[in-house]
């Protein structure tokens, strides 16, 4: 029993901060989930994987994996918060007797630092593009040439020194630190209460304007935007028999809800033990779906199709990402909208910025809470520490962007570790803490009666789903074609690994010219990639050391 366990904070109920309003908390958690992927990744994934039929595995994955995992994280977070732990190491420590449980929580700290490092960089692009849209930069500059110049990737080098990009990155990070230092109510909750309604408003304005484009009267429009909407929603039922569609849907649900990060745990930990988590968690999750499925599908692809035609839009979304359409194409297309063009650009990138900042704040808060709880660092100081560490890690992404550092951060922290952590927490919840205690925690104070079938789902189905996502990422076949890969395997020709799979990444299989130095003795991409992986391992080790130090301090100060 947790209460019998010795420990300096046994039975303590530290209540340093709390949410101002219930809707503020729900908006903050929804804001954490709503990110750039809602607008750039979802429509491309849906269009490439069965169109409207994609929504069937997508919603199945939401109900059987996404939503249960959200409840697991809310439950672990609120439970840990009763013992004064607002970050995952302390919260996991409270789930059982084993001392290693707190080290599982290190994943939550690690992802906060390392994802924030590159995510704030993307967020800063959106902020910079708001400025450039309003300043009319894209009237004269082609975004396809502007973007590489902005990132400093024009030269054939593994290094970049983009001063403008660095300025916007520092500004974005500074804004995050300032909001974090203001606390839950005056910082994070306020940002969510302002950012989320504005995000929805901007999205609605752009969707309505985009869908009203008419080839007969609007200059530059060559097709109806409804053709684009049809492209996203036309159900191709054959896709349902393809495992690729199911894995893509499960992956999209997993990454859109921002689970496996330590952010939801942190936000839930500021609740009272009898506050509802069932309804709050479900509402935040469904709000994310509302933004993703409705606004996400109604802006990017319809507008791009109207101006580029369906074939070009299809080609631009191959691979399941709408990033190039969003950052390289849309700024040009908005120029056709006359006086409204700069405003539309500002709305689009403002929407992406709000989606980004509500997520990056959720990455910062667990670190701030860890330093406050375990090292008694004041909030402002903790926010500055988060900012400085993120700045240092972010600079690696900025400086070594052409060498692939950014992509390494994105893959290992933003994909691999998230799935591993989610798998660990779902198993610990069901089998270490125990489904009885876990279910009791979710049900206590609930304003929403969760069907009892979810006890079974939480125990077996959710971990199995996450395991499938993990295995799918681990050995993803070339081109994502599972049927062809299995046929090849059964015919004795082995397994054709995709370079984007975990094993493919580990073995650098996507780079036949993998090496550390060029023939001229210069640093090659291989060295940057391996050095970045080493850096990530060091950061993980340092987070583990910080946890160990915190618990040593507690033991020493225990009466």
């Amino acid at each position: 029993m947790e209460g019998e366990r010795p420990g300096p904070d046994r039975g303590a109920t530290h209540r340093t901060e709390s949410w101002g309003t219930r809707i503020g908390l729900v908006l903050a958690v929804a804001g954490n989930a709503v990110g750039l992927g809602n607008f750039l990744r979802f429509p491309a994934q849906a269009a490439q994987n069965g169109g409207g039929a994609f929504l069937i595995p997508y919603l199945v994955a939401f109900l059987l994996m996404g939503l249960p995992l959200v409840w697991v994280e809310w439950a672990i977070g609120r439970h840990g918060g009763q013992f004064g732990h607002h970050s995952t190491p302390g919260q996991f420590d409270r789930l059982g007797r084993s001392p290693w449980l707190k080290y599982v929580g290190v994943f939550g700290l690690f992802t906060s630092f390392t994802i924030a490092a590159y995510y704030c960089y993307i967020e800063s692009w959106a902020l910079a593009y708001v400025w450039h849209s309003l300043a009319g930069t894209f009237r004269h500059a082609d975004p396809r040439l502007f973007f590489p110049r902005y990132l400093g990737t024009e030269e054939a080098s593994v290094f970049a020194l983009p001063l403008q990009a660095f300025f916007w990155f520092a500004l974005t990070l500074g804004l995050n630190v300032w909001l974090l230092s203001r606390g839950l109510k005056r910082g994070i909750e306020l940002a969510a209460k302002i950012g989320m309604p504005l995000l929805v408003l901007f999205g609605v304005v752009l969707a309505v304007r985009g869908l009203l484009l008419d080839p007969a009267s609007d200059p530059g429009v060559i097709a109806s935007p409804w053709v684009g909407l049809n492209f996203v929603w036309q159900p191709r039922m054959s896709g349902l028999l393809d495992p690729t569609t199911w894995l893509a849907a499960a992956g999209q649900i997993f990454f859109t809800l921002s689970v496996g990060m330590g952010s939801i745990h942190c936000y839930a930990s500021y609740l009272h033990r009898r506050d509802d988590i069932a309804l709050n968690g479900a509402t935040a999750g469904w709000m994310n779906e509302l933004v993703e499925v409705i606004l996400g599908s109604a802006i990017l692809i319809p507008i791009a199709t109207a101006y580029l035609g369906l074939a070009a839009t299809q080609a631009a979304t191959t691979g399941g990402s709408g990033f190039s359409l969003g950052f390289l194409t849309l700024p040009t297309l908005f120029q056709n909208w006359g006086w409204f063009g700069p405003v539309a650009g500002a709305l689009w990138f403002g929407l992406l910025f709000f989606a980004g900042i509500t997520s990056s704040l959720a990455m910062g808060q667990p670190v701030v809470a860890f330093l406050q709880d375990e090292f008694r660092v004041p909030r402002q100081g903790a926010a500055v520490v988060f900012g400085l560490v993120t700045l240092c890690l972010g600079l690696v992404c900025v400086w070594l962007y052409p060498g692939g550092s950014f992509d390494e951060f994105d893959f290992w922290s933003g994909t691999f570790v998230l799935v591993v952590f989610a798998l660990c927490e779902s198993l610990i919840f069901a089998f270490v803490w125990g489904i009885d205690r876990g279910w009791e925690e979710i049900s206590r104070g609930a304003d929403l009666r969760i069907p009892r079938i979810y006890r079974f789902v939480l125990r077996y189905v959710t971990p199995l789903f996450i395991l499938l996502v993990f295995l799918g990422t681990l050995v993803e076949p070339e081109g994502g074609d599972w049927a062809a890969a299995f046929a090849q395997l059964t015919s004795g020709d082995g397994w054709n690994l995709a370079p984007e799979s975990i094993i493919g990444k580990l073995l650098h299989s996507g780079d036949p010219d993998y090496r550390w130095f060029t023939d001229e003795g210069k640093i090659a991409v291989g060295l940057i990639q391996d050095a970045t992986r080493l850096l990530l391992l060091v950061v993980f080790g340092l987070c583990a050391v910080a946890v160990r130090l915190a618990w040593s301090r507690k033991r020493r100060s225990a009466p």
Partner: protein, 44 residues
């Protein structure tokens, strides 16, 4: 748009709007547990 795409879109969007709207309504109208306790204490 084709009928099947329109049908898929309409059913999905309507379901999401109805569920999210219902949950949001509950979040906005139901008191939190703490407020409940606070108001009970105040009334005593």
């Amino acid at each position: 748009m084709t009928t099947s795409a329109l049908l898929m879109l309409a059913v999905t969007w309507a379901s999401i709007v109805i569920v999210t709207g219902r949950f949001l309504f509950l979040v906005l109208t139901l008191p939190t547990r703490r407020e409940d306790e606070g108001s009970r204490e105040a009334s005593h």
